[in-house]
């Protein structure tokens, strides 16, 4: 990843329609400047990008050391201490906006709190989504980016293999989630991509379950859903296993989900519409009578963010392009009984989709 080049690209797009960009911490800041501060919370940390001059950095004194993460040549760096008002620096920086188009790019994940504080300073400007501009090029991954994502996927795969070697029965979901997080880091992840999910027994029927104190026991279905971050890039994998014995009927349900996954993977190639990938998986599940039990879209883009464009919903007519990366993760959820989901990360090539995650997709009974 080359922040200098990414920033240059944004600026060249900006020149025509935008007077500047206002960025706070998140994947865009990392992509455009290399700065990747964590948990900044209420302290203002911001970069202001201009189409016609070098950017300005406003950074809390507590995070001063982060400056060296960036290769960007800043016009000004304002370091502010806890006893200072950072918004006076922001006001200063905003005064230098070009002001021809009256249009400003705003970081999508910025908190409303910041926007409300500076709304009056931005009075004459209309706001546009920074993501809508950066995602145009962020969606198409470079070879280097795909290498990082492949590595993030490998870390997730190794973690699953290691997990299969362990004694799972009797452990709580919380213990296993914590163990997965440790394994991910041992195998080289800088962090997890999102909060690790371990959903056992009836909990697996909730697609958004959070690890509980429930202990794994015989005849449980267990969904593991987790991901690694590697050099900023995410993986996201789900695998479903049975403990000792598979509950009645679960093998059949598993095979339907597996078939939905492989059928939708088969049609991936440059030029296909996102919605068709969703439909391909959904048709398999609907045909088997489980349509109502597949409660979510089939997948989402993945890269610097665990969830990003393109979203693979039944409505999205966007054409998938070479270099795009996304998850495919069909699932069937039977309330009160169990749920099954299998998820891979896919990289789009000219004529096919390639799985970055490669862990065993057979129904494993541990």
């Amino acid at each position: 990843m080359d922040p200098k080049n990414n920033l240059k690209r944004l600026i060249s797009q900006m020149d025509d329609s935008y007077d500047g960009a206002l960025i706070t911490p998140g994947s865009n800041l990392y992509y455009l400047t290399g700065l990747n501060p964590k948990n900044v919370l209420e302290r203002l940390f911001s970069v202001i990008v201009y189409p016609d001059k070098k950017p300005v950095l406003i950074i809390p004194k507590l995070y001063e050391d982060y400056i060296e993460q960036s290769s960007i040549d800043f016009e000004n760096i304002y370091v502010w201490g806890d006893d200072q008002d950072p918004y006076k620096y922001l006001e200063k920086a905003l005064k230098d906006l070009k002001g021809c188009n009256k249009n400003l790019l705003i970081e999508d994940s910025m908190s409303a709190d910041v926007l409300m504080k500076i709304k009056d300073l931005l009075g004459k400007y209309s706001w546009s989504s920074l993501n809508s501009e950066t995602s145009r090029f962020r969606k198409i991954k470079s070879k280097e980016e795909v290498r990082h994502m492949k590595k993030a996927a490998e870390i997730a795969d190794h973690t699953f293999e290691a997990l299969l070697e362990e004694q799972l029965i009797g452990k709580t979901e919380i213990e296993l989630a914590s163990h997965i997080d440790l394994l991910l880091k041992e195998f080289g992840a800088s962090d997890t991509s999102f909060e690790t999910m371990v959903a056992s027994g009836p909990n697996s029927a909730n697609p958004h379950h959070f690890p509980s104190k429930r202990r794994l026991k015989e005849k449980d279905i267990v969904i593991f859903d987790y991901g690694a971050k590697y050099k900023g890039y995410c993986s996201d994998i789900s695998r479903t296993v049975a403990i000792k014995k598979a509950p009645e009927g679960s093998k059949k349900v598993y095979d339907i989900v597996k078939s939905a996954l492989s059928k939708s993977k088969e049609i991936v190639k440059a030029g296909i519409e996102a919605r068709h990938i969703d439909k391909q998986a959904r048709d398999v599940i609907v045909d088997e009578g489980f349509g109502e039990n597949f409660k979510h879209r089939v997948g989402h883009g993945i890269g610097l963010d665990a969830h990003e464009e393109p979203y693979l919903t039944g409505e999205n007519r966007e054409k998938i392009k070479k270099g795009m990366t996304f998850t495919i993760e069909p699932g069937i959820y039977l309330k009160g009984r169990y749920g099954i989901r299998i998820e891979d990360d896919i990289y789009t090539m000219e004529k096919e989709g390639k799985s970055l995650t490669k862990s065993d997709r057979e129904f494993i009974c541990l």
Copy 2:
């Protein structure tokens, strides 16, 4: 915590100056409705509050089960699937705003992304910070709230005691952070309050270090900074220990920090200005010649959020009131060598401040 009552209180404040409130997930949503969905990310989950009628809930189908968390009587509940546009429901809900004052309360942690999507729908309204209204009463904790916070602090204390029993030498910061998270949950935390920090050796000199693969070794100073969530309420504790032998001079630095903590605690009572608590700690450290090494404010409010009002900076003239809860956490950071921080959670009573966290504050050499 009684969401119905909290909502009633907001509405009674709203009637005079606001036409409604737009809330997304976070501590305000929990406080006002009991709804506490986690990691909703890009899916719109929102409650619209009116001064003159029952609120409306917009909820993704995937999170439908959360509805039962709330005791609030909603006028309408719109459940939307991944193939639907939730903003058409929001538009509908916004049309019912009172529209007399042209002033709307907006959840401070809402992402700019949502605000930009609905900016045109809100055209005629000016926005105000929801926090600035809710924090007026959220800042003053009820007896029940303090009970929860006391329990959250106890969990943090038990975790520290358990940690002291362990073999720390040779373990990585990541392993220890993961172990602390597990202990917190074993002792009854529903979650951690924030990302657990373990900073060893020279890493402890960085007040915002993130756990690394560095292994603890003899003569390390180690800062542990972590917190428990209990029934939504947070604790936040820091303790600093030495491994086997204390580095030269560290005992003296420790005692300065400890004295700064106890001296600033001593002056806490109803009516004191926030800045005076900061100054009291800072004076001790400045007098000993370490003023430059105490890089942050002395503390922050704590409650449903790990960081909330009142902030204890050198500039904040706000008067501390009975029932307010905040951290006091002076620190000295010696770059390249080590850092020391000791942090307690304080509850303000009429004539004194009471520590909710009670773990040993002596300099422990393990």
